[in-house]
């Protein structure tokens, strides 16, 4: 049993506040929750919504239709009422609307003092329609407003009750999922990524704000004093990446956050990190392009760019987590990989993943800084780019006995500029040898219900979640189908991928781009030939239902 609640209105009306209240209150009851956001590129006005899908079984996808629509404006009724399922409920913030239960959330809140508390009225009404114990919501409100004092707590509790009373008078009860045993902890992709960076010892962050990467930048700025992080808003993305290069040279783990357009500006700096052999990590939160594209929507259209960005040839690693929890694991892994192999790493996420909230196990937030793999006590003869079998040279920090010399020109072992072509080739070979070690540590693609499956969905990054639910649904409907998920996109162990792909009747690449970029990468490696593509590039994420329909269609 599952059910989708859509809260819709203009930017600035507190949609997220209502959504988060419902997400957290439902999760506290042991329900599975999955919440996504759809918003326009504006600060006020427009048509935005947040979906809160709840279930008594594990769900990992949003869905197109709503069972409950909370309409905060007339425009919502006009635009979104058609997406409410038969037998669904529309709650309207006003005095009267056809086919809707009219509850003047805002007016009621104003009577109590402030229209910002309309959220509590709305949440109370939704809870009543769902038939859930109103004290759960009220207790949650007490928890949220605890810091603001007893009076605020009581007003919000009272408002939630009034919303519930009025909704109750309509005498409409929906068949809602029963509380289950889902983890009560809820987190979003922004928080898990940023928390992971902070606890892993990132000490310097330089970024230029760009949706949808700004959330992580903002989280780190908000926690900078706790973790002792210097957060600098750079004048542009070129400055940001070059600052991160400087900070890693000086000796602290550093991060920059951006989206596709910003990565384009960082391109030369990423190449510099490859040449300087600096452990630079770039968080790339994707949105549709080209150019400015659709700033607040989602996409998986920068894989080929991330793989190729930066002129010349140098080793790099690319990670693309599939969930908030995997974002937490892989941000740390990205930092560790960068430091172990002294080369740039790109961590790819997107608007969908950074904004989505779902149940997760409680995350370890204890401070556990990564090993920087630096050498100490080097003497006068120190050579930063000493030729080694692994290609990884001993990395010392400036300030000690040995001079640390980096050059963006080709350089000798000491780091000084050279035009000796034999040395140039040795240095290139040294850098490239690092790929062998990176391959050994590369994550294999994850297989889900794939052992005996005739058909296979192949996905990467955030498409993991809807694909996973689609596989479960398709299995229930009798399909022999499984899934292959790539959370590391580079470097790739070709033989292992071939083996895991195996021989299948049908292989479908599910990607949030027009070209099939992972398919392109695997074709280039001669892992696949022509393949069946399922693509989506309208700025919205896949849903499980859509994938099921397209597999069956």
């Amino acid at each position: 049993m599952d059910l989708n609640i859509r809260i819709a209105g203009e930017a600035g009306q507190g949609i997220q506040t209502i959504g988060h209240l419902l997400v957290d209150a439902c999760a506290s009851m042991g329900l599975w929750v999955f919440s996504t956001q759809s918003y326009m590129s504006r600060i006020r006005g427009g048509l935005n919504w947040q979906d809160v899908r709840i279930a008594d079984y594990q769900i990992t996808s949003g869905c197109e239709e709503a069972d409950i629509l909370v309409a905060l404006t007339d425009e919502v009724l006009e635009e979104l009422a058609g997406e409410v399922v038969d037998g669904g409920v529309v709650l309207y913030d006003g005095d009267e609307a056809e086919g809707a239960i009219a509850i003047p959330f805002t007016e009621i809140a104003k009577e109590e003092g402030s229209d910002v508390m309309a959220n509590s009225v709305a949440a109370g009404a939704v809870f009543a329609i769902l038939g859930y114990d109103p004290t759960v919501l009220e207790d949650y409100l007490s928890h949220v407003f605890e810091k603001k004092g007893e009076e605020v707590v009581q007003v919000n509790r009272r408002l939630a009750r009034r919303g519930a009373e009025i909704a109750g008078q309509a005498n409409i009860g929906l068949n809602a999922p029963d509380p289950a045993r889902a983890p009560a902890h809820v987190s979003d992709g922004t928080e898990t990524t940023a928390l992971s960076a902070a606890r892993s010892g990132v000490k310097f962050v330089a970024s230029y704000p760009m949706t949808p990467s700004t959330g992580v930048f903002t989280w780190l700025a908000g926690h900078a004093d706790d973790y002792g992080i210097v957060v600098e808003q750079a004048e542009d993305e070129i400055a940001a990446i070059n600052m991160v290069c400087g900070a890693t040279f000086a000796g602290v783990p550093a991060l920059t956050t951006t989206s596709g357009g910003g990565l384009a500006l960082m391109s030369e700096g990423i190449s510099l990190a490859g040449m300087h052999e600096l452990p630079v990590v770039v968080m790339l939160s994707q949105r549709p392009g080209p150019a400015t594209g659709l700033p607040t929507r989602t996409a998986q259209a920068d894989l080929l760019f991330a793989l190729r960005t930066g002129h010349g040839e140098f080793p790099r690693a690319i990670f693309a987590p599939g969930s908030p929890e995997e974002s937490y694991d892989l941000m740390r892994r990205a930092l560790e990989t960068a430091h172990r192999f002294q080369t740039p790493v790109i961590f790819m996420t997107d608007q969908y993943l950074t904004d989505l909230r779902m149940n997760t196990a409680a995350l370890d937030d204890s401070y556990a800084p990564i090993d920087r793999h630096v050498v100490e006590d080097v003497g006068e003869g120190y050579r930063r780019y000493e030729i080694t079998d692994s290609g990884v040279s001993p990395r010392a920090l400036p300030g000690g006995e040995g001079f640390v010399v980096l050059d963006s020109d080709e350089h000798d072992e000491e780091g000084h500029i050279t035009e000796n072509l034999e040395i140039a080739q040795e240095m290139m070979d040294k850098r490239m040898r690092k790929i062998d070690g990176m391959l050994e540590e590369a994550l294999a693609p994850q297989m889900y219900r794939a052992d005996d499956a005739y058909s296979l969905l192949v996905c990467w990054g955030s498409t993991f979640l809807p694909c996973r639910e689609a596989v479960d649904v398709l299995r229930m409907r009798g399909h022999s189908i499984g899934m292959m998920h790539f959370a590391q996109l580079w470097p790739l162990r070709v033989e292992e991928i071939r083996e895991k792909l195996g021989v299948r009747e049908r292989v479908v690449f599910v990607e949030g781009n027009a070209w099939g970029q992972l398919a392109t990468v695997l074709r280039e490696l001669c892992v696949v030939g022509e393949v069946e593509m399922m693509t989506r590039y309208d700025g919205l994420p896949f849903t499980a239902k859509e994938i099921v329909a397209r597999v069956e269609g």
Partner: protein, 269 residues
């Protein structure tokens, strides 16, 4: 000439850098800077090669991008002395945006700009400080933009220390370098006028010698208006000396996160 590094400079014969390099080495040593704690940061260009011909830690990065890594190095480890050796193209052209914002931050780095009013490494195109009307193979009708005024810009944006000297007045240059290196708070700009025998036929060594004039004792460098007057003076007389000085605190000095020591020294991993 004393040389600290065996590699052969790749500069043209007669280049102003041949006087700047040993003067800088003398200034560093006479001020008593520990070279192990010194980081020379540069971008690309003839001036940007200088770090390879002396002894220090070096971050020789991308064209125009000396200031962002220099800023971050100072923020990550403010116990290091961060000195930028850059040219007019690198710092005022390609890196112009960073120049403005690094000064706004007042990050505590020393920024020495070898300003020869022309592009050397790419063979003679106009630079942001080229005189209006200067003809080159690209600016065939003469330079049609007004020269950028680095001193006025730095003063207006809030640099702590702004000075100018010249490669042909070595004693004065050394004096200015030492004053700049000793100024231990905030952004320090030293604009070093320099001849380019290969590509700048207007602003030659002789031309500079004839035009530069040391600032008199009556100039009060803490007077921002007097400083701007001097910074705006360019023509028959070009003032050299300490143009402006303030006690505006540095970014790293003001930053709350850095009050308990450097980021690097506090890292536990």
């Amino acid at each position: 000439m004393r040389r600290l590094n065996p590699s052969e400079p790749a500069w043209c014969p007669g280049c102003g850098n041949y006087s700047i390099l040993p003067t800088l080495d003398e200034a560093i040593d006479e001020v008593g800077i520990d070279r192990h704690r010194l980081v020379l940061v540069s971008g690309i260009g003839q001036a940007a090669k200088l770090p390879h011909y002396t002894k220090a830690n070096v971050f020789n990065g991308l064209h125009g991008r000396a200031l962002p890594p220099a800023t971050a190095i100072k923020l990550a480890n403010h116990e290091l002395e961060v000195l930028i050796t850059s040219g007019d193209g690198d710092m005022y052209g390609e890196g112009g945006n960073h120049f403005i914002h690094a000064i706004r931050r007042n990050i505590g780095v020393k920024c020495f700009v070898h300003n020869n009013q022309v592009y050397g490494l790419t063979k003679g195109q106009a630079s942001p400080t080229s005189d209006e009307g200067m003809e080159t193979k690209i600016q065939t009708h003469g330079v049609m933009a007004r020269p950028l005024n680095p001193l006025a810009l730095a003063i207006v944006e809030g640099a702590s220390f702004v000075a100018r000297s010249c490669a042909v007045t070595r004693d004065h240059l050394k004096e200015m370098m030492m004053a700049a290196l000793k100024h231990d708070e905030g952004f320090v700009l030293l604009d070093i006028l320099q001849h380019c025998p290969s590509f700048n036929r207007r602003n030659t060594a002789k031309w500079y010698r004839d035009h530069v004039k040391p600032v008199g004792d009556d100039h009060d460098p803490t007077d921002v208006h007097a400083a701007l007057d001097l910074a705006m003076t360019w023509g028959e007389e070009i003032p050299i000396g300490v143009i402006y000085r303030s006690d505006r605190p540095s970014l790293e000095g003001r930053h709350p996160v850095l009050q308990e020591g450097t980021l690097v020294s506090r890292y536990e991993g």
